[in-house]
C-alpha cells in the first residue's frame, strides 16, 4: 500500500500525474516537466516534499552524538542554522545525505530522504545508546513544501509580516504564514533561491492553496518529481541512490567539503581521512553529451576502447538545453575536457567531462 501526503487529493485534482516514488504516491508532473523546470528558473515552482523524513534528536549530549554519526561539524551551527551533511558507515560509505537543523543546543531536526527514513531512523537509534540521546521519527507530524525560484521570496513575503530577507541562505526561522505556524528555511534542491516550509499536516491544504493563488500572477506553478530531478541535476546536486550510496564515499562523490576532520571522531572517519590524504581511484564527474541523444541512467560509458563506468544520473537539461549527466569514472578520466563516449542503445556518442555545477544562478540580490 503506497503512502500519501496530506496533499494527495489536492494535487490529483490539479492534474498531477501520480506515480510510485520510494513507497509514496506522488505527482511526477502537472503541466509538464519542461514547463515546470523553466518556471522554477524564471519565476517560481511549488513542490510537495512531505514524503521526506524528519528525525528529531534531543538530549544534553545531542551535539556530541550528531558529531559522531554525521560528517559535517555540527558545533559550527547556531540556533536556527542549517547544515548539509551525511551519515556514513564504518567503511566511509554514505548511508544517506541530510540537512541538520539546530533548533537549540539540545534539540536538532534531521531531514532525510524518503527512501531512507526507516533505515536512517534505525541506524541513528542504534548508535545513540552511549550518548543517551532521544531519537524520534516525527515524519508524520510534518507537511513540507518547497517554494523555489527567483520570485519565491516575493510570493512568500505577501503572506507574512516576518522580514524574509533577514533569513540568510541555510538559516531557518519560525514564521507565521497566513496564520499558520511554520518553520521556514532558505534551502532547496533546485539551484534557485527559495524556501522549504515545515508545518503541521492540518495546515497543508491552506498553505498550498494560498501560496498558489498568491504566486500565480508572478508565474508560480505546481511542480512534480520529474522537474525536481532535472532541476537538481542541472545544479549538480547529488541524489542518494543514483549518485551516491553505501558503496561510495563522500570523497568519491565530491562531497568532501561536507566532511570536517577537525571535529574529532565520527563513524567512517578512518577511511575518509585516508582518502582525503591519499586520493581516490574514482570520482563522480559531470559530462555534457556532444550529440542530440540524451544520456540516461545506467547507460555504459567508454574511453580508450573499454568501459570505464556507467551513467549515474543523465537527462536532457531543459534550461541549459544540453544533454548532461554525472557518473563515477576513474580519476584519470575525471579532468574537465576529457573526451568520453556514452553508449546509447549500442551506438557510441561523444561526450566531454565538464566542470560542475552545470548551472549556477546569477547573483540577483547584491
Amino acid at each position: 500500500m503506497l503512502k500519501r501526503t496530506a496533499l494527495f487529493e489536492t494535487q490529483a485534482a490539479l492534474g498531477g500525474r501520480m506515480v510510485d516514488f520510494a513507497g509514496w504516491e506522488m505527482p511526477v508532473q502537472f503541466s509538464g516537466p519542461t514547463q515546470e523546470h523553466m518556471a522554477v528558473r524564471e519565476a517560481a515552482g511549488l513542490f510537495d516534499v512531505s514524503h521526506m523524513g524528519e528525525i528529531e534528536v534531543q538530549g544534553p549530549r545531542a551535539l556530541d552524538f550528531l558529531q559522531f554519526v554525521t560528517t559535517n561539524d555540527v558545533a559550527r551551527l547556531q540556533d536556527n542554522q542549517v547544515q548539509y551533511s551525511m551519515l556514513t558507515n564504518p567503511d566511509g560509505g554514505i548511508v544517506d545525505d541530510l540537512l541538520v537543523y539546530r533548533i537549540n543546543h539540545e534539540y536538532y531536526l534531521l531531514v532525510v530522504n524518503a527512501a531512507n527514513t526507516d533505515k536512517d531512523f534505525t541506524w541513528i537509534q542504534q548508535q545513540s545508546g552511549p550518548f543517551n540521546a532521544e531519537v524520534h521519527d516525527t515524519s508524520a507530524g510534518y507537511v513540507l513544501l518547497a517554494l523555489q525560484g527567483p520570485v519565491a521570496e516575493r510570493i512568500l513575503q505577501d503572506l507574512t509580516d516576518h522580514m524574509l530577507d533577514r533569513i540568510p541562505y541555510y538559516w531557518s526561522q519560525r514564521v507565521s504564514i497566513d496564520g499558520c505556524e511554520c518553520r521556514v528555511s532558505r534551502t532547496g534542491y533546485t539551484g534557485e533561491d527559495g524556501f522549504e516550509i515545515f508545518s503541521s499536516p492540518g495546515n497543508a491544504r491552506h498553505l498550498w492553496n494560498r501560496l498558489l493563488v498568491t504566486g500565480q500572477p508572478l508565474g508560480l506553478v505546481p511542480c512534480g518529481l520529474a522537474a525536481r530531478n532535472t532541476l537538481r541535476l542541472e545544479a549538480s546536486l547529488r541524489l542518494w541512490g543514483n549518485d551516491m550510496d553505501e558503496t561510495t564515499t563522500p570523497v568519491e562523490a565530491g562531497l568532501g567539503w561536507a566532511v570536517k576532520l577537525g571535529k574529532g571522531d565520527f563513524i567512517g572517519r578512518e577511511v575518509i581521512e585516508r582518502q582525503k590524504r591519499e586520493g581516490v581511484a574514482r570520482k563522480l564527474a559531470g559530462f555534457v553529451v556532444e550529440d542530440r541523444a540524451p544520456a540516461r541512467d545506467g547507460y555504459p560509458i567508454a574511453a580508450d576502447g573499454q568501459q570505464i563506468g556507467s551513467v549515474n544520473s543523465g537527462s536532457p537539461a531543459p534550461y541549459l538545453k544540453k544533454n548532461i549527466g554525472m557518473a563515477y569514472v576513474p580519476v584519470q578520466y575525471a579532468q574537465p575536457g576529457t573526451p568520453i563516449e556514452i553508449v546509447v542503445r549500442g551506438r557510441s556518442v561523444a561526450a566531454r567531462i565538464v566542470e560542475m555545477p552545470f548551472y549556477k544562478r546569477g547573483r540577483r540580490f547584491d
Binding site: V28, Q29, G32, P33, T34, H37, A226, N229, T230, R292, A293, P294, R296, S315, P316, P318, R345
Partner: protein, 131 residues
C-alpha cells in the same frame, strides 16, 4: 481531448498509419505525444531496414523518458523524416502531418485493415485513461 483523424488506422501502442497502395506513412498519435510531453530526441531506422509488425523500430524521447515505437505492419523503410533531427518538437505540434516518422513499403497491405479505426482507438484510450 486527443485528436484522432478518421482517415487513419491506429495501434494499441499509439502509432497511426496512413496507407496508400502498398506504402504507409507512420507516426505517433496526438494522445501519445501528449502523454510523452515535449519530445527532445527521435531515433529512427535507415531506409532499407525491414521490420515485422509489432517490432520496435525506433524511439521517441521526452525530458523524462525514452519510449519505443512499434511497427504497425510488416515492411521495409523507404523514407525517414530527417527534419525531426533538428526539430523533434514537430511531433508535439503536428503529430499527424509534419511530425510523421517513416514511410514503409508494406509486404501485406491487408495488414493495415486489421488495425483500429479512429472510433475503436478513441474507445481504447478512454479505457486506458480511465484505469
Amino acid at each position: 481531448m486527443a485528436n484522432t483523424p478518421e482517415d487513419l488506422a491506429y495501434t494499441k501502442d499509439h502509432e497511426w498509419i496512413r496507407a496508400k497502395g502498398d506504402l504507409a506513412t507512420v507516426g505517433i498519435t496526438d494522445y501519445a505525444q501528449k502523454q510523452l510531453g515535449d519530445v527532445v530526441y527521435v531515433e529512427l531506422p535507415k531506409p532499407g531496414d525491414r521490420f515485422e509488425a509489432t517490432e520496435p523500430f525506433g524511439s521517441v524521447e521526452s525530458v523524462k523518458a525514452v519510449s519505443e515505437i512499434y511497427m504497425p505492419v510488416t515492411g521495409s523503410v523507404v523514407e525517414v523524416n530527417e527534419s525531426l533531427n533538428d526539430s523533434p518538437e514537430q511531433i508535439n505540434e503536428d503529430p499527424y502531418a509534419d511530425g510523421w516518422l517513416i514511410v514503409v513499403k508494406m509486404e501485406n497491405p491487408a495488414q493495415a485493415d486489421g488495425l483500429l479505426t479512429s472510433a475503436e482507438y478513441e474507445d481504447y484510450i478512454k479505457a486506458e485513461a480511465g484505469e
